[in-house]
Assembly symmetry: C2
Homo-oligomer: 336 residues x 2
């Protein structure tokens, strides 16, 4: 328990073999007698020796670290997403004896990421967000660092993993259309996030597939703050909107607040649906119809893919993960 810094050399000496042999026994590479290997392995076990990963890394020009790029300019509602990603990532990383090193970047400043790669501290990188003008991705390409992006981008050649936001939003919207609603508003955030565009796409798809014309005047993007939501919702009410789809739970809760102030009841007067069932709204009455993603699985998947690349395996360029739609009271068609 207390054999601080037992090294491969110590073991070799103790067992009367060479360091080479010990190394081979551990790594499993190279020919070695079964008996010898057993002897070494047993010794290691007994003295619970752990190789110095740093030294191993130096010899192999690897670090056994992956970089996890986290946004420094996040919105609270995104937090559960990033956190769950991280959970999934760190689980598979650690199961493969890798560690996760975080770099916080903003749109203006990617210096933390740069430091990590320049200092040779990481073997590969996971991007937790994709932007249309993706500085981190560009940088990593230039530096030829293996990386995979969570999210979607038009840029082929970037390995990407995402939930199928487009289909999810389409299916949700179709559900609503099928229920008979027509005047459905879509309210979403920053258009420079690919996810916003994909959901928008799905929204349009739904109309098309139902043989309807999407009502573009009810689509509001780049909605950032509560004040803006409030103004929009008031406008919508005036226009007699039937349903509002909010692209995240923050927007959704702003919408709900406004409706409450305006004494508009959900779902009787207006129906509501949201994305990311991140427990922000879990206590809400009525319960809110929402789309859910298994974000931890997304993280695990991403990490597996990155480690695959690092180990030189072939990986698919783009993977899409599923989703789940929970139709709840907030879109209940009580009129019928």
């Amino acid at each position: 328990m207390d054999e601080r810094n037992l090294t491969i050399g110590d073991i070799a000496k103790e067992l009367g073999v060479s360091k080479t042999t010990v190394s081979r026994a551990i790594s499993g590479k190279g020919r070695i007698g079964a008996e010898t290997r057993e002897k070494v392995l047993q010794y290691i076990e007994e003295h619970n020796y752990r190789p110095n990963v740093i030294a191993k890394g130096l010899a192999q020009s690897r670090t056994f670290n992956i970089g996890l790029v986290m946004p420094g300019d996040y919105n609270v509602v995104e937090l559960p997403f990033f956190q769950n990603c991280m959970l999934g990532i760190s689980k598979v990383a650690s199961s493969m004896d890798y560690d996760v090193l975080i770099s916080v970047v903003t749109t203006e400043d990617i210096s933390q990421l740069q430091r990590a790669v320049i200092n040779h501290k990481i073997d590969g990188v996971i991007l937790t967000r994709t932007l249309v003008d993706d500085t981190p991705a560009q940088y990593l390409k230039e530096m030829q660092i293996p990386f995979v992006a969570i999210g979607s981008t038009d840029e082929r050649s970037i390995i990407q993993i995402d939930n199928d936001h487009r289909s999810a939003c389409r299916e949700l919207t179709e559900n609503l259309l099928v229920q008979g609603m027509r005047k459905i508003a879509l309210i979403g955030g920053n258009q420079s996030y690919m996810v916003t565009r994909n959901r928008l796409g799905g929204f349009m798809d739904a109309y098309t597939r139902q043989g309807l014309e999407p009502e573009k005047e009810h689509i509001y993007l780049d909605v950032e703050d509560g004040a803006m939501v409030k103004a929009l919702v008031q406008k919508m009410i005036a226009e007699g909107i039937e349903c509002i789809i909010a692209m995240d739970d923050y927007l959704c809760s702003c919408v709900l607040n406004t409706l409450q102030q305006q004494q508009v009841s959900v779902p009787e007067q207006v129906k509501i649906a949201s994305f990311y069932d991140s427990s922000f709204l879990e206590n809400h009455i009525p319960s809110i119809t929402s789309i859910q993603f298994d974000v931890e699985e997304l993280g695990r998947m991403t990490c597996k893919t990155l480690l695959g690349i690092i180990e030189g395996e072939d990986v698919p360029e783009k993977s899409l993960l599923g989703y789940e739609i929970s139709m709840r009271d907030s879109t209940n068609n009580c009129a019928k």
Copy 2:
């Protein structure tokens, strides 16, 4: 830009000096001629050479990584706290050329942390949460890894940094008492978190300092879920409570939900105050009285302290950071 893997040896050869000299020029350690140093430094600058931190670490038995222990069993409302800590930590770490490696631990499983230390991947650790029975802290002590804890613990010898929750809660409570309220309920989470106990202490202090007897029957701890809150709030209403202090914004929003269902108006019938102004409630009407902490500063402070320890400096055993109380509409004494 593209001189991949320029090494100290290359530079030495190029400049006709020894590797020793180059190393000294870079580190600034050891005697070296000003002229020689300049020459080396200039070359390095021109070819933007970056030393391999891994190799440096191996030679010095250091990693230039710090471990950041994050809880895997968190509650959504805690997320902004952890996230902001991380932001502060990663900023000062990277400014000192350290990287941050995360280990996710739960109360049952600290294996990720163990891996990081056993694999010699970190020089020190930051604990983002203190527990009364703190396995990670115990482990780190045993392994003699330098670490500092965010939060408070009774255990002397653990370097700890915290906001002054006790004073904060006292001051808030005193404010309310001074306003004339007497029947104040305190509703809080897990008692195994030191922070819960400290706030409780502050709550009691307030009564004492005001020459009053704290009404213990209105203190509810270990409140975990919405259902429990609901039951409690109904009980409180029946008992004619005047004010409810919620120890976090999640509890607070549960309280608010229940009150709304029960048609109890805030602040007219019951007053409300909360901790952690984490923007969960920022849109709430009426605005919610709350205590705020500069969590990012807490992170920065903690990281500085840890790096201080690692560099062998003397650091204070316990630091307390301030807080800010925002009295808002939810505790407005409209009766007066």
